[in-house]
Symmetry: C2
DNA sequence: CGCGTTCCTGGGAACGTTCCCATCGGCGGC
DNA sequence: GCCGCCGATGGGAACGTTCCCAGGAACGCG
């Protein structure tokens, strides 16, 4: 290996200028395809840059332009595939508008999230998208003082902060209505606890049951957004006197826990009990699981978040916009009419 | 909303200096806890900064210091949970050494990956970690010219580029030995096709079978690293004359496909057929799946990658180091002795 | 009380760009 | 053929920090 590879020497615009025999200004313009550069010079500059392996310094550029052409996305948990798809949407829109996407993560930890947000702000990304963060509203509001902020999958109200969420109440209603239309009446909910959106899903479940005249059949078991939580919730439902013929789980992961509990109890799905998840993650689509579930338009949520950021970046001011996207039901193998008993 | 929130005005060190009645130099030192600042001034500066909502500009700092205290990680696919855990390791070590981690992604697309790497290089991150990238070796080598580069989960040999991988051959051997120790002889492999590591796993499988005197029982079915691929591979194994009593899948995802095929064929797991996956993803740990699998030390791989980067950052030169970590077997519910038939 | 030393403090340069403006030819029109 | 204009080019300032260095205040000691 040459010495060059060991010590990081990086050519600057001045090196290119010297090699091409022109001024730094001309190099700058030539490399950015600015109009007033003669073809001959342009070629010479290109070649010199190529030979030197020159790469523009985005740091210096950001400093002088006072913008980075970059949006920062803080994701609370990369272990949750939900965010990967949100990011797909963000990146698709960003790329189409000449923005680069930088991702930071807070690993399910409040302090780490605050730190990650701080990193983005110090880096002076042009906008910040916060995906389902646990950040204090104070921090969010503070961030909004210096940069456009969009919240995804969190409905908090902060002045000037746009939000993009999914209609959790409606999603829960879809699940209940689907099961009712199959003929179920004893439809129980394994709750998501304090997870984001779970309160709205619970309300939606209750409202839908009431609207269908099934208020007496309402049954909510405590759970959370994990495999284990779903398992516990289902166990408690199964020990009751009148076991439900259908269960709505807080999310897909919890639904797999429900599946485990049902299997242990010797109950077949969907012959004995029907099951609906929430999120339509890749997990639900696995044939071994093949879970009927509520689809959240995650990619669209990411797209919408990025578009909201772009609107602010283009000078769009005014009050916060709160976009609520609609979920839909995806039927797979875990729901059917109750056994004619 | 105040006008302030709409237009992004950001105080600079000069604003803080003016408010505190000191020079910019002093502000700089005070805020960085440099030694030679009197307590009174330090407090005054702190307060002024606080009141203004001052946040240091990392861009300007990077420019003058010629380092960013940041490492960039390019991840080829955030939909693959493997990377989330690698990132856990990277972040843990980075945080312990005062480095921030910036993530970019190439969404399984070569061109996008090249672009993402370019972003990192232009941003002048102090080091770059490439997680299982599809990047051309030319690009990797070019990047190495200006910054320390570490490859994770890809064993390519590039001058000066450290690599951290897992011993796939040994992992496959562990799976085979486990099954053989349970009494299995007809142990088949559902292959991972051209996926990373799958060639080494195939070789490991063959070698282990041979070493155990089971060369005649070798059976490899074409598959890939997806649910669907595992399903197809298992189907072809089950239509053969002598069906295997045990199957090794290319990875955990493929193993769920195998589970589906086995269920469809009316075979019980592990009573009729035992199954071993690879990766030990969260999927394998779900009780509904409860898959015996080969654990890859992903977090450790991330840690090792970051440590390798730190070593280069501290001036460590010399030839590339290639670290190979050892996998281990995690026994769950999908393996047992073959039915005494 | 003077002098040297130790703390503090402030000014200026530098980092690598972009942008504005001035300059310099050359060319076309009257 | 002169004047004005336009296209091409270069020089300098600015972006917001950090770092180096010079200078000043305070203090101790003889």
């Amino acid at each position: 290996m040459s010495e060059r590879a060991e010590r990081a020497w990086r050519p600057t615009i001045l090196d290119v200028a010297a090699r091409a025999g022109v001024s730094k200004s001309l190099v700058s313009r030539a490399l950015r395809d600015a109009p007033t550069v003669s073809p001959a010079r342009r070629a010479a500059v290109r070649q010199a840059a190529e030979e030197l392996g020159y790469r523009p310094n985005a740091v210096a550029r950001s400093l002088v332009q006072r913008r980075s052409h970059t949006v920062g996305v803080m994701v609370s948990d990369l272990h949750n595939l939900f965010f990967a798809e949100v990011l797909d949407g963000v990146e698709a829109v960003a790329a189409g508008h000449g923005y680069r996407v930088l991702i930071v993560t807070g690993n399910r930890d409040r302090a780490a999230e605050e730190q990650a947000l701080e990193t983005l702000l110090e880096l002076r990304t042009d906008a910040v998208i916060l995906a389902s963060s646990r950040l204090s509203l104070r921090s969010v509001a503070a961030a909004r003082q210096s940069v456009p902020v969009t919240l995804v999958a969190r409905a908090a109200r902060v002045a000037g902060v746009d939000t993009v969420t999914n209609d959790d109440g409606r999603g829960a209603r879809l699940a209940v209505e689907h099961l009712a239309s199959l003929g179920h009446r004893r439809i129980a909910l394994v709750d998501g606890g304090s997870g984001p959106g779970s309160a709205a899903r619970r309300r939606g479940y209750r409202a839908a049951m009431g609207a269908l005249g099934l208020a007496d059949e309402i049954g909510v078991a405590a759970g959370d957004f994990t495999d284990e939580g779903g398992y516990r919730g289902a166990r408690s439902l199964l020990t009751g006197s009148s076991r439900p013929t259908a269960i709505c789980a807080g999310n897909d992961l919890a639904a797999t826990g429900v599946l485990t509990a049902l299997a242990e109890a010797g109950l077949r799905v969907p012959a004995d009990v029907s099951l609906v998840g929430y999120d339509n993650t890749a997990l639900a689509a696995l044939r071994h699981v093949s879970l009927t579930t509520i689809h959240q338009p995650r990619t669209e949520m990411g797209e919408a978040a990025m578009r909201a950021a772009l609107r602010r970046l283009d000078g769009g001011a005014g009050r916060a916009r709160r976009l609520v996207l609609q979920p839909s039901l995806v039927q797979r193998a875990t729901t059917a009419s109750p056994a004619a008993s």
